[in-house]
C-alpha cells in the first residue's frame, strides 16, 4: 500500500451515499454493480474482470452471497459536485438474515433490481423486506430493458402490488449495454438520503462483517456512525470486550486502499492484528478505548449455531485432512463451530454447528470441493434442553448422546417465529405445510394483496427441508424469514434406525412422539430405496426405545451377473470389477451392510 495512493481526508456527510443492491439471483445484480464501478472510472477497464463482487464458486452457483462485500465509488454528478457512493453487497439467504439485517443498517438506501423480462421473485422479497425494515429509501431499477421480452409497465405494476412501493419513477436500465447507468447514479445521489452522524461525538462504528486474510490477519468491515476512526487508535469491541490497536484503515475501490481516517457515514475497513474472526462479531460496536461511547449500537445479537450435524470422512484415513479443512474454514467463519466426535459406526469425525441448513451445505460443499474429502453428513439436529430428574439441564447437540430416559424429567426444544409471505394462490399449501410441521398459527394478515403468515414452529421441523418444501409448494413465490423465540417443553423422543438389526447412530433423530410413526415410516421407506440390494435380505426398522414403530424389508439381490464373458472380455470385465470394488469402498459398512453416503441426508427428506 504505497503512501502516495493515500486518499484525502474524509468526505462531508452531504456528499456520501451508502446503498445496497437487492435482487434475485439472475436479475443482473453483479452486472449492474460492475457497470456502476466501471462507468465512474473506479476501476480501469483493463483491470475489470466480469462480476467483481462475486467471489466463491459456491456463492455463484447457489446465487447467494455469504460474506458482505463493499466498494467505494467516486462519482462526479451532473451538478458538478463529487460524491462518494458506498455499495455494500449483502448476503442473501434466510440462514444469514441477521447478517443481512446488519448490512442493511449500515446503509441508507437500496436499489431494487428486477429483471424486466421476469418480474419480482421470491428471493427479492425476502431481502427487500430487510431494506424496508431498515427504513431504506428504495429505488426500483428495471434491468434488461434491451431485451425484446422486457415488460417494464407490467413489472412496475407488480412491484407496486407485491412489494407495495412506488415504482412510477423506476430506472430503466440495461446493465449489459449501459443504458440508464448514468441516470441510476444520479438517482443514487438525488433520491437516496445522505447518512447522518456526529463528527464530534464519541466513536461508534458498526462491525458489518469480517474475514481472515493470510497477510493482514482479520479484516473488519465497518460503517462509522459517529466520531472519527484513525490509524493507530486504540479501539474497543464493546460486545466482545476486547481492545486492539488499529494497524490500518482504508476503503475498497474494490482493492484495499489505505486512508488516514474514516468519518461519519463512511464505510471502510480496519485491521488490528486480530487473529481470529471469532473475536469480531457482526453487529458489534467499535469505539475508542478512552472517551468511548457509553452504550453500544442497538440490535446486536451474538451469532449462535442452531443446527448441528456430524461430518465424517468416508475414508477414515482422511480424518487429519478433515481436521485441517475445518480449522481453515473456521478461521473465516465465526458462526461455524466444531468439536471432535466419535461414532461407533463412522469412527472419528466432527460435530459441527451452523446457522442453518444452507450454511451447513455450503461448508460441507467447500470441504468436499476445496479439500477433496468425501464426507458422510449425519442427520442435522437442533439443540435440545434435556432436564434431568436431579434438576440439572443438558444441552443435547446430538441424539446419540441422549441420556438414559429413566433420569430424564422432560425435554425442551427451540421454537421459532416464522414469517412467510406468499401469493394468494399458494396460501392453502403453505398453511398445510406449517400445520404438518406442528406449527401454531399466530397471524394471517395481508400486505397489500399478499397474505402474510406468521407461525410459531418447532425449529427441528424447519431446519431440515422446510425451506425446500416451501419453495416447492409455492413454485418459489414465497419469502421466508425466522427468528428463534425460545424453548418449550414437548413430547420428544429419540428415534433410532436399525439396519439389519444394528442401530445406525448416525441416523438417530429426535422427533415429536405424535410424528414418530409417520417420520419413522417415511425414513425406512426412503432407506429401502437408497440402500442397494445385498446378497441377503435386510430388515430396516425405526424404533423408539426397544419398540419397533416402522419396518421395511429390503429384498435380497436376485440378479447381478454378466451375461456374456468370453476371452475378449476378460480384461474389460476385470477392470469393471475393480471399479465396482472402488465404488463399494465409497460406502460405509454397518455390520454387513453398505450404506451409500448420500443416504444419511436423503433419508430425512420428507416429501409431504
Amino acid at each position: 500500500m504505497p503512501e502516495a495512493l493515500h486518499m484525502r481526508a474524509m468526505t462531508e456527510l452531504s456528499h456520501i451515499r451508502n446503498f445496497s443492491i437487492v435482487a434475485h439471483i439472475d436479475h443482473g445484480k453483479s452486472t449492474l454493480a460492475d457497470r456502476l464501478i466501471q462507468s465512474t472510472g473506479t476501476v480501469q477497464d483493463r483491470e475489470m474482470k466480469a462480476q467483481l463482487l462475486d467471489s466463491m464458486d459456491i456463492e455463484r452457483e447457489r446465487g447467494i452471497t455469504i460474506k458482505a462485500q463493499t466498494v467505494r465509488i467516486d462519482y462526479k454528478a451532473l451538478n458538478g459536485e463529487s460524491y462518494v457512493l458506498n455499495l455494500i453487497d449483502t448476503p442473501g439467504h434466510v440462514d444469514f438474515s441477521y447478517e443481512v439485517s446488519r448490512s442493511m443498517r449500515a446503509v441508507e438506501g437500496s436499489l431494487l433490481v428486477v429483471d424486466s423480462t421476469q418480474g419480482v421473485e421470491a428471493q427479492t422479497l425476502a431481502n427487500v423486506y430487510h431494506a424496508i425494515d431498515a427504513d431504506h429509501e428504495i429505488v426500483p431499477v428495471l434491468n434488461k430493458i434491451d431485451l425484446p421480452a422486457s415488460e417494464p409497465d407490467r413489472v412496475k405494476e407488480q412491484i407496486e402490488d407485491v412489494i407495495g412501493i412506488d415504482a412510477s419513477e423506476a430506472m430503466l436500465v440495461s446493465a449489459k449495454t449501459g443504458v440508464g447507468i448514468r441516470e441510476t447514479l444520479e438517482a443514487i445521489v438525488h433520491r437516496l438520503p445522505a447518512p447522518k452522524g456526529d463528527r464530534e461525538a464519541p466513536l461508534k462504528a458498526m462491525l458489518v462483517d469480517s474475514w481472515y486474510d493470510l497477510y493482514l490477519g482479520v479484516v473488519v468491515l465497518v460503517r462509522i456512525m459517529d466520531g472519527v476512526l484513525k490509524k493507530g487508535d486504540r479501539v474497543k469491541f464493546m460486545q466482545n470486550d476486547t481492545v486492539h490497536q488499529v494497524d490500518r484503515i482504508g476503503v475498497f475501490k474494490p482493492g484495499m486502499l489505505p486512508v488516514d481516517e474514516l468519518g461519519p457515514g463512511e464505510i471502510g475497513f480496519l485491521t488490528a492484528s486480530i487473529k481470529q474472526v471469532r473475536d469480531t462479531k457482526v453487529g458489534d460496536t467499535i469505539t475508542h478505548e478512552k472517551k468511548g461511547a457509553e452504550k453500544p449500537l442497538p440490535g446486536f445479537a451474538p451469532s449462535v449455531p442452531v443446527v448441528f450435524c456430524g461430518l465424517f470422512p468416508v475414508d477414515s484415513a482422511e480424518f487429519e485432512d478433515l481436521r485441517n479443512a475445518i480449522e481453515k474454514l473456521a478461521l473465516n467463519d465465526a458462526s461455524f463451530s466444531s468439536e471432535m466426535e466419535t461414532s461407533a459406526a463412522l469412527g472419528f469425525g466432527f460435530r459441527c454447528g451452523f446457522l442453518g441448513l444452507l450454511h451447513l451445505e455450503v461448508i460441507r460443499d467447500r470441504i468436499e470441493r476445496e479439500y477433496g474429502i468425501d464426507l458422510i453428513t449425519t442427520a442435522p439436529s437442533v439443540v435440545y434442553h434435556v432436564h434431568m430428574r436431579d434438576g440439572t439441564m443438558h444441552e443435547l447437540h446430538n441424539p446419540a448422546d441422549m441420556p438414559d430416559l429413566t433420569h430424564v424429567d422432560h425435554i425442551e426444544e427451540p421454537r421459532i417465529k416464522a414469517t412467510i409471505m406468499v401469493p394468494d394462490d399458494y396460501l392453502g399449501d403453505v398453511l398445510k405445510l406449517c400445520q404438518d410441521r406442528r406449527g401454531i398459527q399466530e397471524e394471517l394478515t395481508y400486505a397489500g394483496s399478499r397474505p402474510l403468515v406468521v407461525y410459531d414452529l418447532p425449529l427441528n421441523e424447519v431446519v431440515f427441508d422446510f425451506y425446500d418444501r416451501l419453495k416447492s409448494v409455492t413454485k418459489g413465490y414465497a419469502s421466508f424469514d425466522y427468528q428463534i423465540t425460545g424453548y418449550r417443553q414437548d413430547n420428544l423422543v429419540k428415534m433410532q434406525i436399525l439396519v439389519n438389526d444394528e442401530p445406525v447412530d448416525a441416523l438417530s433423530i429426535m422427533v415429536h412422539r405424535d410424528r414418530a410413526e409417520s417420520r419413522g415410516r417415511a425414513m425406512v421407506e426412503k432407506l429401502k430405496e437408497l440402500i442397494p440390494r445385498h446378497m441377503f435380505k435386510i430388515p430396516i426398522q425405526a424404533a423408539i426405545g426397544g419398540k419397533v414403530i416402522a419396518r421395511e424389508t429390503l429384498s435380497a439381490m436376485r440378479k447381478d451377473v454378466t451375461a456374456k464373458c468370453y476371452g475378449g472380455d476378460a480384461t474389460r470385465k476385470r477392470k469393471l470389477l475393480d471399479k465396482q470394488k472402488a465404488g463399494k469402498k465409497k460406502m460405509r459398512q454397518f455390520g454387513k451392510v453398505d450404506i451409500p453416503q448420500e443416504a444419511f441426508i436423503s433419508a430425512l427428506k420428507m416429501d409431504g
Partner: protein, 386 residues
Amino acid sequence: MAAEIDNWQRGGFGLYLHWPFCQAKCPYCDFNSHVAAHIDQERWGRAYLAELDRLAGETDDRVLTSVFFGGGTPSLMDPSLVAAILDRITARWRLTNDFEVTLEANPTSIEAGRFAGYRSAGVNRVSMGMQALDDGDLRRLGRLHGVDEGLRAFDIARDAFERVSFDLIYARQDQTVAQWEAELKRAIGYAADHLSLYQLTVEDGTAFGDRLARGGLKGLPDEDRAAEMYEVTQQVTSAAGLPAYEISNHAAPGSESRHNLVYWRSGDWIGVGPGAHGRLDLNGTRWGTEAPKAPGKWLETVEAGQPGELPREAVSQVEAWEERLMMGLRLSEGVDLHGLAAPDAGFEARVRGLEEMGMLRRERDRLFATAAGRPVLNAVLRELLA
C-alpha cells in the same frame, strides 16, 4: 505358484480368429464389428496367414484344443478362406484328438448355402445366432432373418455339422416369464446339443444404449422378473438334459464348448484379427495380447510386416488371480485353486463368509458358486475380491 503346471496344459490352448465384418450392425451389439461394402477376402486371408505364422513361431510346441471363428459375422467368409486358415493351423500346430473348430453363423438362407463348404474346410461345430423365435422380436433386435428362415438354416446346419449350438436372447422388451418358457421349450425341441441363453444386456455405446439413455427401450424386465426368467431357464434346460455348465451356456454332458472352456478355465489362447485379445504364458510371465481394433489399421500393420498386436502387457499375479476366479466361478465345475496362494490374507475369511451366506461352496481345492450365488455372481466377486 512354482509347482503349478502351465495354464495351457491345465486349461487348454485355443485359437480365436476375429472376422470383423457384418452385413448390418445389431442394436444391442458392442462387439468389434463393422459394415463394409466390399471386402477383399484374399487380401484378408494373406494377413491372417501371416499372423498365424508369427504366433506359431512362439507357440508351436503346444497342442491346440480348439479354433473359434468369431465376429462380426464369420459366416460371411468364403469357405475357401476358412479352409486356407484351417490348413495353415493344422500345418503349424499339433492338435488334440477331439479338436474343435467352431464358426459363428447367422441363420440366413445365403449363409446356409456355404455350410457344406465350411464342413469340408474342417469346421465341425457351428454356433447359430438365432436370438429369438419371434418375428417381431427379431425385427426389434435388428436381425436380418425371420423365424422360419432361421429354422431352415438350422436344419441345414444340423445335417452338415456334428455339433450345433444356438443363441437366444431373453429378458427382451415386454417379454413375460411364460412367453420365455414356451419359447425356450420350443427351442430345445429343435435338438441342438448346446444352447447359449443370454439375458439382454444394454451396453453403453450401442444403439440400444443410446435409446435407453434417452428414456426409450420401455418394457425391459426389472430385476425380479429377470431373476424369474433366469430361474425358469435353469429348470427347463436341466429337465431337458441340457443343464447350465456356465452362467449362460447349457449343454448335454460332453457337448460343452471346448473352446470357451479354455477361457473359463484360464487356459491360454491366441487372438488373431482386429481387436482380438489373447492370454499367453511365456517364460513364467502371463501376457495379455491385444490386436489393433480398427480393421483397416490391423490389415495395414500386418501387410507392412509388423505384428498385428499392440505392445503386450504383463498380467500381474493379482490380476491373473482375479481373472481366474471371475472366469472360473462362472462354471458349474467351479475353479481349481490347487497350488494357488491368495494374494491377500483376508481371502479365506471372505470365502467362509460367502459360504455361510450360501453363495459359495468349497470341496477341497475347488471353489464353486452355488445355485444361489451364480445369478448374483458380480456381487459375490465384489465381496470375494475386496
